[in-house]
């Protein structure tokens, strides 16, 4: 697009010279380019801006005009933002956009040789200094001072540099202040210190695999292929209809129906890999459990968290029965301190659609949280509200004397649909048996465990 830009940019200046009519073509180009730049910036921030978004945006701008900041903001928000998660990015990017738009337009209005798209584009990737473009007017220093753009670009550039810190570790949030490349950066948490995934996943016996599969089956939320009789099903049960029609002399009066049974699971597995959990649970069993659950469920997102949340779904997808080497290849760390609330908040911010109303969230954590209690309460209420069900597997709850007294567990417990002890796959079979018998909404969980002298027969 560069060559055309150049020639276009020249003509209006020539035409406009000599009279006071503002250069509309340049203004139009300026608006277009700034809008596209804003869309690009939003995409860079991770917002999903539809392809036609910028088209709709400039149409909207044409409808509302460029005079009123609030109206422009509303128009762009309506066209460029298509999900709540992108609103923050938009709010952040808009002031800069507005500033550039106005300064550019003012420059065009007062000075016919305003910022042309050509030089803007060229400087986009440069760090701070705008090189004098051949097309720009060298005898107009005020214009350059006016247009604040280079500085802004500089900011963006340095932000990029921060992300490109050459470490081997996998960054998820990338905003940790202590993280400047040294291998010890994770140690700022009070509990434990991180390390690479260092064990092989255990080979589950057939019985153990069956236990995990059974657990997956009882949590199932999605309709599968199997069908059973149902009053208001989607399909007509031809066989039963035919048989029933014999009673009425061959005329089918009632049409029995069939509906799909929910026997497929969409699941979001959140595994706490903080030091305290890794010390209580056999690490290789933990990996094997996650792997088996990921394979057995129709769709499973897997996240590991200690002080950060790491999406390791792709590693498990590619693992092919060997998650530990996939995790090692991706240089995923584990064994830091626990900030459950922060992990939930990150999940909400970065992967909002990993959890929806048909998703069962399975959290494996001991609930020994060192983070802020309010953050955890916020996170767990969101998760519980959003998800189809929230099941918590706590390694400590295998003990008959377990009480959810730790800060994290006490905060989360009221919002959890069921809390089970989990140290080995056999525990899952026990959990699955209870859910089968009483349903996930029924009295299930550690507090009904017979060993505690509860009401379990």
């Amino acid at each position: 697009m560069d060559p055309t830009d150049r020639s276009d940019a020249d003509t209006p200046t020539a035409v406009a010279e000599g009279d006071d009519v503002p250069d509309f073509r340049a203004a139009r180009r300026h608006v277009l380019i700034e809008t596209i730049r804003l869309a690009a910036k939003l995409r860079k921030e991770g917002a999903s801006v539809p392809v036609s978004g910028s088209l709709a945006a400039v149409r909207a701008l044409a409808a509302v005009g460029l005079g009123d900041r609030n109206r422009v903001e509303a128009a762009l928000r309506a066209t460029l933002v298509s999900e709540a998660g992108a609103i923050d990015a938009f709010d952040e990017a808009f002031p800069e956009f507005w500033h550039r738009l106005r300064t550019g337009l003012d420059a065009i209005a007062t000075d016919h040789e305003g910022p042309t798209p050509g030089d803007d584009d060229e400087d986009e990737d440069e760090d701070g200094k705008r090189e004098t473009d051949t097309d720009a007017t060298p005898d107009d220093p005020e214009l350059l001072a006016d247009a604040d753009a280079p500085e802004m670009d500089g900011d963006g550039g340095s932000g990029d540099v921060a992300v490109r810190i050459p470490t081997e570790r996998r960054h998820v949030t990338g905003d940790r202040p202590t993280e400047t490349g040294s291998e010890d950066a994770r140690r700022y948490s009070a509990v434990g210190e991180g390390g690479h995934v260092d064990v092989e996943a255990a080979r589950l016996t057939a019985e153990e695999s069956a236990a995990v599969d059974r657990f997956v089956d009882v949590l199932a939320t999605l309709p599968g292929r199997r069908r059973r009789a149902s009053r208001a099903g989607e399909w007509i049960d031809a066989r039963r209809a035919l048989r029933a029609s014999l009673e009425t002399g061959g005329a089918a009066v009632d049409l029995p129906r069939r509906a799909a049974t929910p026997n497929e699971l969409r699941c979001c597995l959140l595994v706490d890999v903080s030091g305290s959990v890794l010390d209580t649970v056999d690490r290789s069993v933990l990996l094997a459990f996650a792997e088996r659950l990921h394979t057995s469920a129709r769709e499973a997102r897997v996240f590991l968290f200690d002080t950060d949340l790491r999406d390791v779904t792709t590693q498990f997808d590619r693992a092919g029965g060997d998650p530990s080497s996939a995790l090692r290849d991706a240089a995923v760390e584990w064994g830091g301190g626990t900030r459950i609330g922060r992990a939930f908040t990150t999940l909400r911010r970065d992967h909002p659609y990993a959890v929806d109303r048909r998703t069962v969230v399975v959290v494996v954590s001991d609930g020994l949280d060192v983070g802020d209690r309010d953050v955890l309460a916020d996170g767990v209420t969101w998760l519980s509200n959003r998800a189809g069900a929230l099941v918590w597997l706590n390694p400590l709850a295998v003990s008959p004397s377990f009480e959810p007294r730790s800060r994290g567990m006490a905060t989360s417990e009221p919002y959890v649909d069921a809390l089970f002890g989990f140290a080995e796959p056999a525990d899952l079979a026990a959990a699955a048996r209870r859910i089968e018998r009483r349903g996930l909404d029924g009295p299930v969980g550690y507090e009904y465990d017979s060993r505690r002298g509860g009401d379990e027969p």
Binding site: A74, A75, A78, A84, Y353, D356, T381, N385, P414
Partner: protein, 309 residues
């Protein structure tokens, strides 16, 4: 397409604002601009936000203030095209064929695949409504419907037409104003989002909510109304499973208006007794303790000053 005859195209923002005003719908500038744009550009409007923030009300108010039909399609899991778009009136067709009034195959005689035998469901009705002003089509809680249904909506939303295989394509003379609402219980497809303008509504701030309560619950004393809004605002800061929306505020305001006989400030005991209007989950109700009630009372006490400021 004769889009230019629609009265929605020419609507100005101030006009829209005064229409909202007359319908007692308190909207911030962003909402007014976005709705105005959706009308002017003839694009569907996707409204997202927590339950009880006035999404559905927006559709109703639009229809009411432009004095046109509101066609509402409540989405649910398992909603199919037959429920939403059209269905053939099989019984009538069968009778027609038996009485030899129509034929199944094309020929000289009338086919039973004719408008006469078509049962219009909301979406088709929105396209075929007669009259100067196009109707407002409210597709409520689209996130509850399955992904398949969402995909099925795409043709309708982009071209305002539907294809009926036996019949042909039905196209709207006046494209309806389409409002989609979503509670974000699942992500919507990009294809759907791309066709819509997007409006995210949040629960209103203190001043707006006060305005809403004053309009909708006029029987409540002004000072108490301010207290009610301040308490709700404070409650929304708590981590609840279901944070109270505007609908809950109005319920509570009506409850308070009904129960009280004097103009005393709200007491903690009064709040505790009526908390069921605001919180609808047992975990949330249980987490209300004396400390929180005290904070709520303090917020209520400070309400009047904020209003004057």
């Amino acid at each position: 397409m004769s889009r230019d005859t629609s009265p929605f195209d020419a609507v100005s923002e101030s006009d829209l604002e005064s229409r909202f005003e007359r319908a007692d719908y308190v909207a911030d500038d962003r909402t007014v601009t976005t709705v105005g744009l959706a009308l002017q550009l003839g694009r569907p409007l996707l409204v997202e936000g927590p339950p009880g923030s006035g999404k559905t009300e927006l559709g109703k108010v639009l229809a009411e203030s432009f004095d046109t039909d509101l066609i509402r399609l409540q989405c649910y899991e398992g909603l199919t095209a037959e429920n939403a778009l059209y269905e053939w009136n099989y019984t009538k067709q069968l009778l027609a064929v038996q009485a030899d009034e129509g034929a199944v195959a094309d020929g000289d005689r009338r086919s039973v695949f004719d408008r006469e035998y078509l049962l219009e469901r909301p979406l088709l009705r929105a396209l075929t409504v007669e009259g100067e002003t196009p109707p407002v089509l409210l597709i409520d809680e689209i996130d509850r419907a399955d992904e398949e249904f969402e995909a099925f909506l795409l043709e309708l939303l982009s071209d305002f037409q539907v294809s009926i295989p036996e019949f042909g394509t039905v196209r709207a003379d006046h494209p309806p104003v389409v409002i989609l609402t979503s509670n974000r219980t699942r992500g919507l497809s990009d294809a759907l989002k791309r066709r819509c303008l997007y409006l995210h509504v949040e629960p209103p701030d203190f001043e707006d909510e006060y305005e809403i309560v004053r309009r909708k619950v006029p029987e409540l004393d002004a000072a108490v109304a301010a207290e009610v809004c301040a308490v709700v605002e404070r409650l929304r800061e708590e981590a609840f499973l279901k944070r109270p929306g505007v609908a809950e505020t109005l319920d509570w305001a009506r409850a308070v208006a009904r129960l009280r006989t004097d103009d005393e400030p709200l007491s903690a005991e009064e709040m505790e007794r009526t908390i069921g209007c605001l919180l609808k989950e047992v975990e949330d109700v249980e987490s209300v303790d004396t400390e929180l009630l005290e904070q709520l009372r303090a917020a209520a006490a400070a309400a009047e000053e904020r209003l004057e400021a």
